[in-house]
Symmetry: C2
Subunit: 381 residues, 2 copies
């Protein structure tokens, strides 16, 4: 399922390939986030056009709305949403902790109220696995508890104990039910390394999950409000204890520089809402750092969003026109920046893959970071 | 510029062809409304794909935002918005009366405050012509006063007197400046027949404008809150007094049945916000009448929005999925209904054109209306 094609001589960066029921994913890979069965403002065809190889769907959201019966009637999330390429679904663990109301964590799972209508709900390891099997994702994530940040060591360890017991229950459910995707090929499952900021706990989690032999491993409990150095340390504490021949996924990350830094630390897969979320506020990524399109300085700017990162879907449109669309609240403005930002992220990881193949990843990483961050010191006027 | 290809033996419906600087428009034609330099939620490529031959832009809005200097820097609204086919711009007359604050109508034009920021503005016949010449539309509308409905006969006549004096001033401005589009070909100009609900005034307006020899004629002051019979009468009172060899445009109309009725009364061109505005509320047109996609009855409906009116851009997506998108507030849901509704309107007029060519317009009109309105009596459950 995962081929490790090469490892960078200058860092821990890896060039790999995932072969999944709905297609091949070249790594390092970035997955746009399609929380509710759609990536914000994009059609499936546009996502393919900007080079998305795999997208993420959310168990928590899709289970509440449209509800499993609807998706079951179609046979899979793929058939419901008409996205043909691979899908990874998260387990609902993170959303239960970030969105749900009045949650009660018990041994069996989490009782909570829906953030939509307050109705009483429950997700435990088995329910999460069952929901994800109905969604029919290519990769399903194990159900975990995501501790808040900061978190005391005792609390973090107690939470990790629960996450590990839940991991075993997920494994048992998978062994018993052997869930399949709509292609007939089996669903894959990734364990999630928790342990907050504690090296000892991260190591323990990674080793115990590795021993359970999942198809891949994620580092979770990152991007939960901690400083960037903490985030990097959580990765560094986890990676050495994960098997080299399995894919590694950093959940919910990050900015373009963070993604390159994580690739250099041995991460293969990413997902992040930033490209689509920032688009809503009119922020576009460029090779010289992010720009805010509503700024007066773009009023007469006839150039495209990033002259050095152009996609056919957005190439025709000027900063001046997109600025106008955003100021006027027109949806096309949001669409164009969403597509551009997703293309920017796909270019980032595609360029990283090409640099790894050419043996020049260190130079690529340095050149990108130098140019991208220079603008923060002297923004163009 | 306008060829009258044939006239229906059973009604006043006409099959025609407009040859404009940016392309050919087959009539009867429907123009999607691109108020702020974009048709709601659609890209120019999608609009072409659903068959839009010409779109409408708004002088009032574009003059306030992004402002003429921005559009002048691009050379035209075409180059700014990247829409390559013909554009018709309205004169701002209607918006000054429907949107602007604290307006004062004087002989020279209308003083008002911007609905965006309250700033003081002025549009008169010459300013409107000048703004539209900078926009570089294929067809510019004359600046008129649009009286409210209902309106007493004396008031309507006084308003029409002013509209006619303004028409003359527009004509003088055009003769003096001979405005060109960005292709180098001359801009065309349509007069607007006002006169409220009074046959005598409509006749007078049509005859006086016809004598001024514009490139085409619109019926204005319709769809301003009057009952449908009044709207039809306003058309019937105007059409007989307009020259047969010039195109005729009913402004701001209408529902699909109204459009067929207007075609039967000799109208060649239409614009209306309904297909895109109703999409925002989740209303999709179908051959059996409009449906509200959020309705529970579509929860498990795997069929497309209208199985008898399918476009490749929306064909893949089920009512169930689009319902989910609308309930979740996802933009793709709005996009899909916008595209479908615009395709529905383009199909309506294309089918009318084909029926006229085949000499079966009466049968087409009857069949469409019978099926479309039947559902209002017995909605499918």
């Amino acid at each position: 399922m995962f081929e490790l094609l090469s490892t960078d001589p200058d860092s821990q960066a890896r060039r790999g390939r995932l072969t999944l029921p709905h297609g091949v994913v070249e790594t390092p890979a970035f997955m746009p986030v399609g929380t509710q069965g759609t990536v914000k403002a994009c059609s499936p065809g546009e996502l393919e056009a900007v080079g998305a190889q795999m997208i993420l769907g959310n168990t928590y959201h899709l289970n509440l709305r449209p509800g499993l019966d609807v998706i079951r009637s179609f046979g899979s999330l793929h058939r419901f949403s008409r996205w043909q390429r691979p899908i990874l679904t998260d387990s609902g663990g993170f959303q239960v902790f970030s969105l749900a109301k009045l949650r009660k964590v018990k041994e069996e799972g989490v009782h909570f109220q829906s953030h939509l209508d307050g109705s009483k709900c429950f997700i435990g390891p088995e329910t999460s696995m069952e929901i994800q099997s109905v969604l029919g994702s290519d990769i399903a994530m194990l159900f975990d508890e995501c501790p808040p940040w900061p978190c005391g060591e005792a609390e973090a360890e107690k939470s990790l104990d629960l996450t590990m017991r839940w991991a075993l229950r997920c494994k048992e459910w998978i062994a018993k039910h052997d869930p399949k995707t709509d292609t007939g090929a089996r669903q894959h499952h990734f364990g999630i390394v928790q342990g907050s900021g504690y090296a000892r706990l991260r190591e323990r989690a990674a080793k115990e999950l590795a021993a359970m032999d999942f198809d891949g491993y994620a580092v979770g409990g990152v991007s939960v409000g901690e400083p960037e150095e903490e985030m990097m340390r959580a990765i560094e504490h986890s990676i050495p204890h994960l098997p080299a021949h399995k894919p590694r996924y950093a959940m919910g990350l990050g900015t373009p520089p963070q993604i390159l830094e994580m690739i250099a630390r041995g991460i293969d897969m990413f997902d992040c809402v930033l490209p689509t979320r920032l688009a809503r506020h009119g922020t576009a990524y460029t090779s010289d750092g992010p720009i805010h399109i509503k700024s007066k300085r773009f009023e007469f700017d006839h150039s495209p969003l990033d002259p050095d990162c152009i996609h056919p879907l957005t190439a025709d449109f000027s900063r001046s026109y997109i600025r106008h669309l955003h100021r006027a609240g027109e949806i096309l403005g949001l669409r164009l920046i969403c597509l551009h930002n997703l293309h920017f992220y796909q270019s980032l990881v595609r360029n990283a893959r090409e640099a790894l193949e050419a043996g020049v990843f260190a130079a690529y990483r340095a050149a990108f970071l130098s140019r991208y961050t220079a603008s923060k010191i002297t923004p163009p006027s």
